[in-house]
Amino acid sequence: MLPYLTEKFGNASSVHGFGQEARAAVDRARREVATLIGARPNEIVFVSGGTEANNLAIRGVGEAAAGHGRHIITSAIEHSSVRGICEVLEKRGWEVTRLPVYEDGIVKIQDVRAALRPDTILISVMLANNEIGTIQPIEEIAALARAEREKSGRRIWVHTDAVQAAGRIEINVEMLGCDLLSFSAHKLYAPKGAGALYVRRGVRLAPQSLGGHQERERRAGTEGVPGIVAFGEAAKLARQEMSQRAQHEERLRNIFEKGVTERIDDIVFNGEPARRLSHVSNISFRFIEGEGLLISLDLQGIAVSTGSACSSGTLEPSPVIIALGRNDELARGAIRFSFGKDNTQADVDYVLEVLPHVVEKLRQLSPLKKVRRLDPVAVE
């Protein structure tokens, strides 16, 4: 990537030599990115990241297919970039059905079937959830849409947000059967600012940025060459190292979960354990609020995340945890721990040493629990 920030500074849309050098690099990256998901290079649209990919997919298909229908099916646990664009379309006259998930955090195929209508044009369900890691039945959903398409001749496209899943599990768009798929570079350890939308040949998409021929007229604007080059390289490494990374992360995650279970009471694990990404662990800690835990762990050098409350700029607890049927307290006390290729056993040991103390300290301050006194009261 670095040469494309300095001496190889050409614009990939320019016809001179420098430009063509950059164009060749973008083309190479496109092949690698396509290979990661079993797509053809010309089915890849480079964008700025997962949010733009999700926006482009849903609004792009929604607008292009509006003449055929204005009904979209999605789920209750989508990323905010999918939720947000669905809400915008809803205000403009589209109808949106949000499928429930159950305690396991997984969409049920019979619910998808029941939600289908003659005016359904798009089903958008994520491949794996970003907070709890649960893997959704996209293959079955796509097969259902295909069968419906063949039976009725109607257009029903299937989009999946694979931002959290790409590079973690094997993805082949032919086997999945989806028509659009979003993914992001930084989840593969490339710099932030690049992403891609896979658009199956034959799927019409109304571009959301106009005024240039880039990306086969589906996304106008000068390509971010260094980010795309890094995305390509990261995709290649992710493909080559996927199974060993996944095994490593799963091992750490399992040690962590066993250790937490042994050390801390009153916790609830979120998401079906047998059907989730190997690097995610989501735990609700009763009696305490996630952000207090997050900041307290941060002060000890441990970075975790919550999908809830003030930390993300909203006052609502995580909609994902609420969708599992958990109460407000469990939703507000949910924390996502995620493990990466560079984490070590020592990192997990350190978290297991620090976490119980931090949780106990916050619980001692919690009015939700009958607590014991911290120390003798000092009275003048």
Binding site: F287, I288, E289, E291, G292, I295, S296, L299, A309, C310, S311, G313, L315, P317, D328, R332, K361, L362, Q364, L365, S366, P367, L368, V371, R372, R373, L374, D375, V377, A378, V379, E380
Partner: protein, 121 residues
Amino acid sequence: MPYSEIFKDHLTNPRNGGELEDANVVAEETNPVCGDRLRLALRLADGTIKAARFLAYGCPPVLVCGSALTEFIVGKTIEDALQVTRKQLAESVGGLPLRKQHAAALAIETLRSAIDKFRDS
């Protein structure tokens, strides 16, 4: 806005956390918008706050403001304690981001509620 050292210190080493068994008054207030909750127990004698303890559920500023409030008021007369403002409390923990000012407001509201309750009893 990064949290200050004093903020982090209150979070790591909360002052006067827990229950106060010989309290004369206990008040609990919640922020219905986000579910934050603060419980304040006071022991008052001769018009003075002799001891204060807090319990808090919510984002870190709620915990920190609870802790800082108890430090502020112990030893003060009731009249002086009532003079403590939301702004002073927020400043005492190194300032709070705009969207977290509600934590200081909740602390002051809980203090006033406790004193009102004591006076009514």
